[in-house]
């Protein structure tokens, strides 16, 4: 697992723009990032979730997510530091990569 320290302002400036550019948003009232994905159908959505799940296990960092049919809403935050950490960035990046390769 990567570092669980809360991201500083400079780190956020470096790392978050890339994620923001692809649609991740910071949540109000909570130090977390959020994105909604939707896929062609449930199978794709769940395949996506499976890939993310396997990676999350590997990283020992799990997302908060919700799924209904072909939509997946993912919220990423780190509990240990009560905010965003490098682990969230890593997982978000992986999620992006999977999502683009899938759809």
């Amino acid at each position: 697992a990567g570092k669980a320290h809360r991201l500083s302002a400079e780190e956020r400036d470096q790392l978050l723009p890339n994620l923001r550019a692809v649609g991740w948003n910071e949540l109000e009232g909570r130090d977390a990032i959020f994105k909604q994905f939707h896929f062609k159908d449930f199978n794709r959505a769940f395949g996506f979730m499976t890939r993310v799940a396997l990676q999350a296990e590997k990283l020992d960092h799990h997302p908060e997510w919700f799924n209904v049919y072909n939509k997946v809403h993912i919220t990423l935050s780190t509990h240990e530091c009560a905010g965003l950490s490098e682990r969230d960035i890593n997982l978000a990046s992986f999620i992006e990569q999977v999502a683009t390769s899938m759809s």
Partner: protein, 631 residues
């Protein structure tokens, strides 16, 4: 054969396989020889190899045949002109292909030179050799180089191939986000991750960020131990990742440009040899032929034996290249030549092409030195230092422009009418151009470039808070211009004052929280180009030159058509009045580039920061929606 897998089963299987599970492990985990699996061995085999090679797993049952077929295509020579790229387009899912095509189309509509600069800066940022582009696009390398560096025209179809590569390569950025070896390769254009393609890997290249770190370490100690080398490895990889705008823990995404201890070791060894060689050169030339070292005008220091002027060149190269205080690199040179070096790098502090001059004289010095001795060949690195010296001159000239690009993320969203005005602006001789936003150092601006690229593809609207409105200046009336003829500083102030007057009667914060989305931006040059401005501005605003001193009174936000702005006389009161409002400009929605304009405007001294060399030009953004949003 294989019992038809349901689509969900296929998806899940694909996910499992992609996560690195081997077939044997899967079978074992299933706890049985799996007769149905044996039957499915053939297709699964191909499927797996396709998995590792392609990653298009969603199509697994149907795609088995397809991928097998297309595997042959992947071994195709990349030398063919467009077909390989197009073929790869088919290999993608339709949505991704369509998305990429759309982006390429957009790029093709843009000004080719601007896109070329974007592509070039991307290549520099990620240290991608041109050879990789040439191999995958089939373009001619000379043609490509000329197009990217000098703007030599390139036909549309070839540009399409280039942009397609560029868009595809940006997927490499997505791949950066995986752990080492995880996720595999999607297709070849990444160039550095498929060893099977004729065994070709991109040659490692030192990035400027890493080199800076190494030079600093070198001056501390010429012979680092293994631990120190490892520390440097971490530091360099971290810096390279940051330069690419990527989390440092994803260093594996650097691919062929990943820094290792061996490479650091070799770098130090080469530097030591280089220094010894230059020392030898200096000894020879100092005591040797009458042409002598003859240090150039920028290097008044005599060349002491321990200190050939050429030893300054790598540090100067980097001083020129980074435009940053290279005091630490200057320290590499012992004190006898310290002062001239310091003055040179001091001259380089403001990132302006006036720094070109030292590098020019350097070039001549270095050339004299190397050619003076007909002795053994110099170490390769001194030659590369020479070569890179030559490149820094245009490079530095471009850098302010690249930084302009970086600090103006909205530039690419400008409509067709704008580029004409932007052209002359950019080709302005750098000495008379000031771009706000250059207050940031090099390292910080580079990631912005990356995000600019992404903002283009996503066409993300650039957000400006309304406080920027005060700075947006419509053409001033000629009488106004004569007032400000005295000094460019006053010109700026006058510009900044008048629209500000619109809000002057209500300087509270509340006034500034009303923020609109301003996707269109426009560059405005200084007051001397009013005619150009007049032709550019699409907003209908009426300006009256109001000589009355009271700018506070009688200013009403017009209800309907035109916005009337009263231009106050320039008295210090007006200037001071400007400042507090600017202080209020801290709004979280302001993008970083626009914030820079106001971060230094806290005091009149801050304004002088805007014009450090008393330049007469200020480029600011104007929103074409200002009229509507201010109503």
């Amino acid at each position: 054969m294989v019992a038809k897998l349901s689509q969900l089963q296929t998806e899940l299987l694909a996910a499992l396989l992609e996560s690195g599970l081997s077939k044997e492990a899967l079978i074992q985990a299933l706890g049985e020889p799996g007769p149905y699996l044996l039957a499915g061995d053939g297709p699964l085999d191909k499927g797996e190899s396709c998995v590792s090679g392609r990653g298009e797993l969603a199509e697994l049952p149907n795609g088995l045949g397809e991928t097998r077929g297309s595997e042959d295509e992947t071994d195709d020579d990349g030398e063919e002109f467009t077909p390989p790229i197009l073929k790869e387009l088919e290999n993608l899912s339709p949505e991704e292909a369509a998305h990429q095509k759309a982006v390429v189309e957009t790029l093709l509509q843009e000004d080719p030179w601007r896109v070329a600069k974007m592509v070039k800066s991307y290549l520099q940022q990620h240290n991608i050799p041109q050879r990789e582009v040439v191999d995958t696009t089939g373009l001619n390398q000379s043609h490509l180089s000329q197009h990217l560096n000098k703007g030599t025209p390139m036909k549309t179809q070839k540009r399409a191939a280039l942009y397609t590569w560029y868009v595809r390569k940006q997927r490499e950025v997505a791949q950066q986000f995986t752990h080492a070896g995880q996720g595999g390769l999607i297709e070849e254009p990444t160039g550095d991750e498929l060893p099977t393609k004729k065994g070709r890997r991109n040659r490692f290249k030192w990035g400027p960020a890493s080199q800076q770190i190494l030079f600093q370490a070198y001056e501390r100690q010429k012979n680092p131990s293994k631990e120190e080398r490892e520390t440097l490895v971490e530091e360099c990889n971290r810096a390279e990742c940051i330069q690419r705008g990527v989390s440092p823990s994803q260093a594996q995404g650097l691919g062929s440009n990943l820094v290792t201890e061996v490479r650091v070791y070799n770098w130090f060894a080469n530097r030591r040899k280089e220094e010894a060689f230059r020392h030898k050169l200096a000894m020879d030339t100092y005591s040797g032929p009458p042409s002598g070292p003859g240090p150039g005008p920028a290097l008044p220091a005599h060349s002491s034996p321990g200190l050939p002027p050429s030893a300054l060149s790598p540090s100067k190269v980097h001083g020129v290249r980074y435009g940053q205080p290279t005091a630490s690199e200057a320290a590499e040179v012992p004190s006898s030549s310290g002062s001239p070096l310091v003055t040179v790098s001091a001259a380089l502090h403001p990132v302006s092409p006036t720094g070109l001059e030292p590098s020019h004289s350097l070039l001549s010095t270095e050339a004299k030195l190397v050619s003076a001795t007909g002795g053994p060949l110099p170490p390769v690195s001194t030659l590369t230092a020479l070569h890179s010296l030559e490149q820094t001159s245009p490079g530095l000239n471009q850098q302010p422009q690249n930084l302009i690009m970086a600090s103006l993320p909205g530039v690419m969203t400008i409509g067709p009418g704008e580029p004409a005005s932007l052209g002359p602006t950019f080709t302005n001789t750098g000495a008379s151009t000031l771009v706000i936003g250059l207050a940031s150092t090099q390292a910080q601006s580079v990631p912005v470039i990356n995000s600019m690229g992404s903002s283009l593809t996503t066409l993300q609207p650039v957000q400006f808070s309304q406080q920027l409105h005060p700075s947006y200046q419509q053409p001033l009336m000629p009488p106004m211009q004569s007032h400000v003829a005295q000094s460019p500083f006053m010109a700026t102030m006058a510009q900044l004052q008048s629209p500000h007057a619109l809000y002057s009667h209500k300087p509270e914060v509340a006034q500034y929280t009303h923020t609109g989305l301003l996707p269109q931006t426009m560059l405005i040059t200084d007051t001397t180009n009013l005619s150009a401005l007049a032709s550019l501005t699409p907003t209908k605003q009426v300006f009256t030159s109001d000589p009355e001193a009271s700018s506070e009174s009688g200013l009403h936000t017009p209800a309907s058509q035109a916005t009337t702005l009263h231009v106050p006389s320039q008295d210090p009161a007006g200037i001071q009045h400007l400042q507090p409002t600017h202080r209020l400009s801290a709004s979280p929605t302001v993008s970083s580039s626009s914030l820079v304009l106001y971060q230094s405007s806290d005091s009149s001294n801050g304004h002088s920061h805007l014009l450090p060399s008393n330049h007469g030009v200020i480029e600011t953004f104007i929103s074409t929606q200002m009229a509507s949003s201010s109503q």
